[in-house]
């Protein structure tokens, strides 16, 4: 157990020296582990810091040892143990001397969040909620082995890899203006399907438009006026309060992205020997970004990222169709515009004062501030929307990116609430049927493919998202715009 210099003594799950920079920023100096090239910084309130598992401290300092890392290895307040990098991890590497690592992206490439607004109110939706959730559950397949309604041949799937959400829009699965509300307009350049294995294609070809399982979900939420904290920004994004209904989607590239990551972990294990790179954890396998192997992974990862954008776009189409069926109105008439779509598992080349860097965000969200040229015109005044999913029982948040994030954290912030309890422990503590019943009593209707999966996602298995949001707000790397309360949830 441990100490925190400068901030009084706290019980932390590490023996490393953790120095207080501010009440929301904590630093582990390079002297704490052999091989650290930069300090590690953790963004958290004292309460959150004390709840962080030992893996966070160990893993963020392992990341600080990777070649070409710049400034700091970072971890956000929703951080917890992950594969190689902690979840909530952010690290930026020089494009010439640095590395790229699947462990810093996450297996579910471009796992991300999408928020859709409506003009509907709770009073209008509540009487139809059961029918709406049934229709959504029917139209958006979830859970083990689920396949989507689209049947693609391999050539078409390769088009998805290179064109992302635009592929969907061109086929009527969305509106052209949707693209303005997606990170990178839903299509990342330098995606090369020739760098993707046949196995990855076989795993992903039937999964377009599916949610998956684990912590992935589709949620119908309500925004009450008293939970809108920044009315001007919220209004600019179409969030008006007054018990407004919105829909949140959390999912990624499914088995396809995972296979891409697994394929290149094997490639990198061999490449590291050739390039003389040693890492503290096998799951940190990496290759120089400028190497053939590094560029091949980057091209394949971008294919998975674009497929994830397309996946969420197809799901959005299905959501609009479901609402149209239930309320007998067109999606446009109900104002079902995208608020935003943003990745939280990705590596991207971005420019900072140090030059071009490969920024890895794993369980961390890009948070560009006002005026960023990388944002569509509609977000230039407000900064980028940041969508943070909480547990299915507690609610979620809409935040805005800031200049502080661009300055301090490579334009990165939190992505969710973060687990505090393992899936096995949660399942021992409660049954899925109990979770479903308790949530219904609290006005949240849940449709789940797997009852054991539902138990694993019980609210008590997660950190208090309000405390996590407070950490990043007080640290100045995002500002809080609105809280979103669940009334209906679909889980795999």
């Amino acid at each position: 157990m441990a100490c925190a210099g400068g901030g009084g003594r706290m019980k932390l799950n590490t023996n490393m020296q953790v120095n207080r920079i501010t009440d929301e920023v904590w630093e582990i100096p390079v002297s704490e582990k052999s091989g650290m090239l930069v300090p590690a910084r953790i963004y958290a309130t004292p309460t959150i810091l004390q709840s962080m598992d030992a893996g966070v401290f160990e893993q963020v300092t392992n990341v600080a040892c990777l070649p070409g890392i710049r400034r700091y290895a970072l971890c956000m307040p929703d951080g917890h143990w992950g594969y190689g990098f902690p979840i909530g991890g952010v690290a930026a590497f020089d494009v010439q001397s640095g590395i790229i690592s699947p462990g810093g992206v996450g297996y579910d490439v471009n796992c991300g969040m999408r928020l859709i607004r409506t003009d509907l109110s709770l009073d209008e939706v509540q009487p139809q909620l059961e029918r709406l959730m049934t229709e959504l559950f029917r139209r958006v397949p979830a859970g083990v082995g689920a396949s989507g309604f689209m049947r693609l041949d391999r050539a078409s799937f390769k088009d998805v890899m290179t064109n992302g959400a635009r592929w969907c829009i061109d086929r009527g699965l969305g509106w052209h203006r949707d693209l303005d509300a997606i990170e990178e307009r839903g299509c990342i350049a330098k995606a090369d399907p020739s760098k993707v294995s046949d196995q990855a294609i076989s795993r992903g070809i039937n999964q377009l438009g599916t949610l998956g399982s684990g912590n992935h979900y589709l949620e119908v939420q309500v925004v009450s006026s008293e939970r809108v904290f920044d009315e001007e920004t919220a209004a600019a994004w179409g969030i008006t309060g007054h018990d407004q209904i919105v829909v949140m989607v959390h999912c990624g590239s499914r088995g396809f992205g995972h296979q891409v990551a697994s394929d290149y972990l094997k490639v990198f294990e061999k490449a590291m020997r050739r390039y003389g790179i040693s890492v503290k954890d096998q799951q940190l396998a990496c290759a120089p970004f400028a190497s053939v192997e590094g560029q091949d992974y980057f091209a394949a990862m971008n294919c998975a990222a674009n497929t994830a954008f397309a996946n969420r776009q197809v799901i959005t189409h299905q959501i609009r169709e479901a609402f149209s069926t239930v309320f007998d109105r067109s999606a446009e008439d109900m104002g079902m515009e995208l608020v935003y779509d943003v990745a939280h598992n990705i590596a991207k080349v971005e420019r900072y004062p140090e030059g071009e860097l490969v920024v890895h965000r794993k369980g961390s969200t890009r948070a560009l501030g006002p005026g960023s040229p990388d944002l569509s015109q509609q977000y230039r005044a407000t900064g980028q929307p940041v969508i943070c999913g909480g547990s299915m029982e507690t609610g979620s948040y809409l935040l805005a990116g800031t200049a502080g994030a661009v300055r301090d954290t490579f334009a990165s912030t939190m992505h969710g609430s973060g687990r505090t309890m393992s899936r096995a422990q949660a399942k021992k503590a409660i049954r899925g049927e109990q979770v479903q019943k308790q949530m219904k009593q609290r006005g949240i209707l849940v449709k789940a493919v797997s009852m054991s999966g539902l138990a694993e996602e019980a609210g008590f298995a997660y950190k208090d998202i309000s405390e996590v949001v407070e950490s990043v707000d007080r640290a100045g790397i995002t500002k809080t715009v609105a809280e979103l309360r669940p009334i209906g949830n679909i889980k795999g």
Binding site: D53, G55, H80, W81, G82, Y83, G84, I87, Y107, D108, G143, V144, G145, A146, S147, Q199, S202, R203, G204, N206, Q207, G212, S213, G214, N215, R254, G255, H258, Q259, A261, S262, L265, D281, Q282, Q283, R419, T420, M421, S422, R423, A424, Q425, K428, V449, S450, S452, G453, G492
Partner: protein, 145 residues
């Protein structure tokens, strides 16, 4: 000859971890395979209309187990199935390499009759190891869900 497995409470906060044991390498493979199959669905609720023969050879038994378990994840997604039973033999060749010959049985995913659990996305190398103490083999596996 016997095998066993149990899921671990305190490892892999966001995912699933298990220990598998066997009185031989082949029995260890049986235990670990049962764990992955159970993680996906209750095999007693899954039929056996789908069959897939699998053969693999590796120099390292740990890599052989990793690849075999990854095969289960692959076929789950590629053919949209969950598994009921399996057969496998693990033998050592004259060149010292390990050879697995097996068959997976299952059926297409159907949530109306099968008790589905986790959509396993992959087998990971985190904390992954295969070891032998005396005649007893042990594997620790973390599964990404």
């Amino acid at each position: 000859m016997s095998h066993s497995f149990h899921f671990l409470d305190d490892i892999a906060t966001a995912d699933l971890a298990f220990d598998a044991f066997g009185d031989s390498l082949q029995e260890l493979f049986h235990g670990a395979t049962c764990a992955v199959i159970e993680a996906m669905a209750d095999p007693s609720t899954v039929g056996s209309t789908w069959h897939k023969p699998v053969e693999r050879t590796e120099e390292d038994p740990a890599e052989l187990l990793f690849d075999w378990l990854s095969d289960l994840v692959y076929w789950k997604d590629a053919d949209g199935v969950v598994f009921s039973t399996f057969e496998l033999t693990v033998t050592r060749g004259d060149d010292g390499s390990w050879h697995l010959k097996g068959e997976l049985c299952g059926e297409s995913v159907n949530g109306s009759v099968q008790v589905l659990r986790n959509d396993v996305k992959g087998i990971t190398k985190h904390m992954y190891h295969v070891s032998q103490e005396g005649r007893r083999w042990h594997a620790r596996v973390v599964v990404d869900v």
